[in-house]
Amino acid sequence: MDKRAALTDALADVMRYARALTRNGDTAEDLLHDCVERALSRLHQFEAGTNMRAWLFTILHNIHRQNLRTQSRRPAPASLTDELAARIGQPGDQDDRLALRDFDRALAELAEEQRAVILLIGLEDLSYAETAEVLDIPVGTVMSRLSRAREKLRLSMDGNLKPSLRSVK
């Protein structure tokens, strides 16, 4: 496939990832835009047949890192939380919706470096090796962040499922 077409096809997924990672719609849009701009200027470096999404995630993370370094403070991550809360409020099983809301809250509380790993692997279906490359960290670090993030999420969800146990004490 033409590289430019492959890039266009990948945009929606990169948008999803940018939003889930930063939890801020404006930040995500800027990040995507800068990522595409840089990708276009380096399109000749992309090897046909390799994973376009992983390549874009790598560029996106490089820009994101630079932004965080130069910004004196991070943008408030609140905007998406409200939007997601509204989204979860759609009709459906009540317990199920509450669980989803709690899950989103737990995701938001993860350190961003852990959220990046869990999203790249769990949401974007990248392999461990690809994730290591995107984040420029060893595969071992990917595994340990993944394991810690998932345990944190699991424990916080477990806690929510047993409120009576906690209130007894």
Partner: protein, 261 residues
Amino acid sequence: MTSPDTLSESDLHAYVDGELDDGGLIEVEAWLAGHPNDAAKVHAYQLQKRQMHRLYDQDADDARVPERTFALIDADRPSAWLPGWRRMAAGIVLLLAGGLGGWFGSGLGGGDAPSAGNQFVQRALGAHVVYAHDENRPVEVSGGDETRLLSWLSGRLGHKLMIPNLKGAGFKLMGGRLVADKGDPAALFMFEDGKARRVSLYVRPGMGGGNTKFRVIAEHGMVAFYWTNGQLTYALSGEMAQGDLLSLVQMVHDDLTSRSS
């Protein structure tokens, strides 16, 4: 089937994420059958993946991608490049349309009106055709009194204007005039060289967007380039080869930029 004695935490994750080969898969499944706590973990991790998809999959939608980002890709299409002039200046996008019909503008600086730049440059070219060919009165105020000309037009546009120096290319300022650009005041400066070739610089307050972009249209031997710095939008029109006009555009842009910074 024998069950392994121990299993690492990472094996559980690798199982969830499909990172195991067949042998590893069988091993982990055998382990999980006899270890309900680990099986519960695996179940929880699998649920986490499904929940992430439920939360975020609707964001994987082209409608979420800003128009300006798609415009970037459109503007980068190889057919849009003018061969040889690729790197006219860092950060400058140069597009060529083979005529007004072939225009594929996507807005000035990715602004909201896709054809704003197109319409602007057509008006500039139209003004050039009307005034540059006027033998009697191509300008209202002659370039002899540059200070008065500038203060008058700057006042009308509400922006401090500058007149580029094109003497290096043999073009002298003839003067300028006030023109109506879609109901707004705009300024037109006319230049002429020793061979009586005329070029006009058409300036109006910015039309949205902040990026400098050079675009060109060519029609019946007339060529116009336009660009914007966010504050002011410019078009340079002339009846000459694109390459010749382009070097003038570059001269205008460099001169104005160096003096305003």
